[in-house]
């Protein structure tokens, strides 16, 4: 059967499963809509969190990024996993004990301030919309590449599917479809990786094959270091970013991960504090399966690619090169006219420019795997994009119906009214997200740094200090959040939008790139919060009791009643 037939079958089947689950688990109350009724098993929640967290970028782009960055790619690997340790130890159990529905709920209540709540709502909306635009685009791209429909039609199909299960099912529907989506995406990622590891190193476990020898007896990584050096790239295992930048990007991504509202809210869905802790462990275990495989895939793919193109005559290139250059994802030009591909670090002389995404998308073809494996990768990419999009939609709809409508504008709204508002908000958000996917603003890639930097420099310190420092008060937290956002936002806007030409290491503060500046923003936030809190009156007694209460697990079930 052809790749396209297989793709129709596998993608169609997986979509049917998602819709089926959505109908079976639709939400009947606001509690089910926002937090799935609070009764999700910790392992299921861990899987759902993993699918929620791993986006189209993790699935499609990350391994490719690493294969071009080598050692430096570790900023993503450590940054996007280490945050779960912070989440499990410093945030999840306490937020679960606190027991409300959203992150702005916590900020508004802990800092007894409507202003703090509104600042948090704006940050949550901004971060979520930034993120979701990329997901819908990812859906469109996978559709257009594997099913040969126009990108926009792909986005529309994706919108329709997400609409059904996010609007109908709320958090409850999303949670159980995400469990299914995790299974699809991890299977789709591991199968080609195992095949390729076996082919290249004889070891079926990619994490071990990564450190094994190739058929010629040299270690894979030594071979890759040698190839990189020959072509003028820096050594694969050493990287080229300055250490301080690697340090700061990793820290910003970790704190940003722990501060992302769509991740935090997942820990409101389990029954007990105990479950919130273990659920974070399960989530990281499920994420680690992909995150420890990705660097192996990166190294396999790079070795394969260099060996099959560097110095090869243009008319003798393998068929996958032609297939992908037709889609525009590989660009080739025989600059020196010698008839052979010259792939080198020097941009002037280089003749071969692959898009990073093909490292995952074309991997099965490069390794000559059967057609069903190629189709599986399409289904996996869609699962990754749809699951993240749905989680983000929920944050957007609850920020509007719960945080703005119920808590800020009309506290007397009925349960049914709020549920209807949540559904309408989710519906409007789907349409907006789809439009962002069809007419992508040119700066989607740039604003991702923004989303993490903002989460790291606003939510993360406000929540941590809210739990661990009883003395932190409204004045401290609000000024801290504003200082963190203004500094981080200003730095990123300056270097990404106002003066991108100046964005070189020599001009950066301490050599820290805009991707890593959230770390400094976070430190500034904490300094402001701690110092100003101590210069202003301590928080009211009931708030101090609240903090004492969330530190003790017992009684979480009661706290959740709204």
């Amino acid at each position: 059967m052809s790749v396209q037939t297989w793709t129709f079958i596998l993608v169609g089947l997986s979509f049917a499963i998602y819709i089926g689950i959505a109908i079976w688990s639709r939400a009947g109350s606001t509690k089910e809509f926002y937090v799935a009724g609070g009764g999700v098993h910790p392992v299921a929640n861990g899987m759902a969190t993993a699918a929620d967290w791993m986006s189209a970028a993790s699935f499609i782009s990350m391994a490719g990024l690493i294969s071009f960055m080598g050692y430096d790619g570790a900023v993503y690997l450590m940054g996007w996993t280490g945050g779960y340790v912070l989440l499990a130890l410093l945030l999840a159990p306490y937020l679960r004990k606190f027991g409300k529905f959203t992150v702005p709920d916590f900020i508004g209540e802990r800092y007894y301030s409507q202003t703090a709540r509104i600042v948090a709502v704006i940050c949550a909306l901004f971060v979520s919309f930034t993120y979701i635009a990329g997901q819908m685009r990812g859906v469109g791209i996978v559709f257009s590449r594997f099913l040969e429909v126009p990108i926009n039609l792909g986005v529309l199909i994706g919108m329709a599917i997400v609409f059904v299960y996010a609007v109908l099912g709320g958090m409850k529907g999303i949670t159980y479809t995400q469990v299914a989506q995790y299974c699809v995406l991890i299977f789709a990622f591991l199968v080609p990786a195992i095949f390729i590891s076996l082919q290249m190193t004889g070891n079926p476990i990619p994490q071990l094959g990564f450190g094994s020898t190739l058929s010629d007896g040299t270690y894979l990584l030594d071979k890759l270091d040698g190839l990189n050096q020959e072509l003028g790239f820096s050594l694969y295992t050493e990287g080229s970013k300055p250490m301080i930048d690697v340090f700061c990007i990793t820290a910003a991504l970790m704190a940003g991960t722990a501060g992302l509202p769509h991740v935090i809210v997942r820990f409101f869905t389990v029954p007990r504090v105990k479950d919130a802790r273990s659920s974070a462990g399960w989530a990281l275990l499920f994420i680690a399966l992909l995150y420890t495989t990705a660097p192996a895939v990166a190294a396999f793919a790079r070795t394969n690619m260099i060996q099959s193109v560097a110095g090869v005559n243009y008319d003798k290139l393998p068929p996958w090169v032609k297939n992908w250059s037709d889609t525009g994802l590989i660009k080739m030009e025989d600059k020196n006219g010698d008839g052979a591909v010259q792939y080198v670090a020097d941009k002037e002389a280089n003749e071969f420019t692959p898009d990073r995404d093909i490292m995952v998308l074309a991997n099965p073809e490069i390794a000559n795997l059967p057609n069903w494996v190629i189709a599986l990768v399409a289904a996996g990419g869609l699962a990754a994009a749809l699951s993240t999009a749905a989680g983000l939609l929920l944050v957007i709809s609850s920020a509007i119906s719960h945080d703005l409508l119920k808590n800020a504008i009309n506290p007397n709204i009925s349960e049914r009214g709020e549920l209807l508002a949540a559904r309408i908000a989710a519906g409007v958000a789907v349409v907006l997200a789809g439009l962002l996917g069809i007419y992508p603003p040119g700066f989607v890639a740039q604003v991702v740094a923004f989303a993490f930097g903002l989460a790291a420099s606003s939510f993360f310190p406000a929540i941590i200090l809210g739990v661990f420092d009883k003395r932190t008060n409204m004045q401290g937290a609000i000024s801290g959040m504003i200082a963190g956002i203004v500094f981080t936002g200003g730095y990123i806007i300056y270097f990404k939008f106002i003066n991108p030409a100046a964005s070189v290491p020599a001009n950066w503060l301490f050599g820290i790139s805009p991707e890593g500046i959230g770390t400094i923003g976070m430190v500034i936030n904490m300094l402001f919060t701690v110092v100003i809190s101590r210069m202003t009156p301590e928080p009211p007694e009931r708030i101090q009791h609240l903090v004492e209460d969330i530190r003790i697990p017992r009684g979480a079930g009661n706290a959740q009643a709204h």
């Binding site: 050692y71 690997l77 499990a88 990584l221 017992r554």
Partner: protein, 85 residues
């Protein structure tokens, strides 16, 4: 529960957090970044050690750390009788 009991529970919790976060920092920022170059002179199979910590080892340790934390806290909750029914 009494106030002193709650404070003792919180103090022990903070001690666990400090130790676990030190390990968290040591494997990622320490072994994977600050001392990666030095560790790269040690090899395990095909991996240079600093590179391995940065792209593999730190992630394994993260997973283990969370489950150790869960285990420690479940015991601590029982000890101070603050566990959930």
């Amino acid at each position: 529960m009494s106030k002193t009991n709650a404070q003792a529970y919180w103090k022990e919790n903070l001690r666990y957090l400090l130790i676990l976060l030190l390990i968290w920092f040591a494997v990622s920022y320490g072994a994977g970044i600050l001392f990666a170059d030095a560790l790269n002179s040690v090899r395990i199979g095909g991996f240079k050690l600093g590179f391995w910590f940065a792209q593999q080892g730190s992630i394994y340790v993260f997973v283990v750390l969370i489950f150790v934390y869960v285990w420690l806290m479940n015991k601590l909750d029982e000890k101070y009788d603050v566990h959930e029914q």
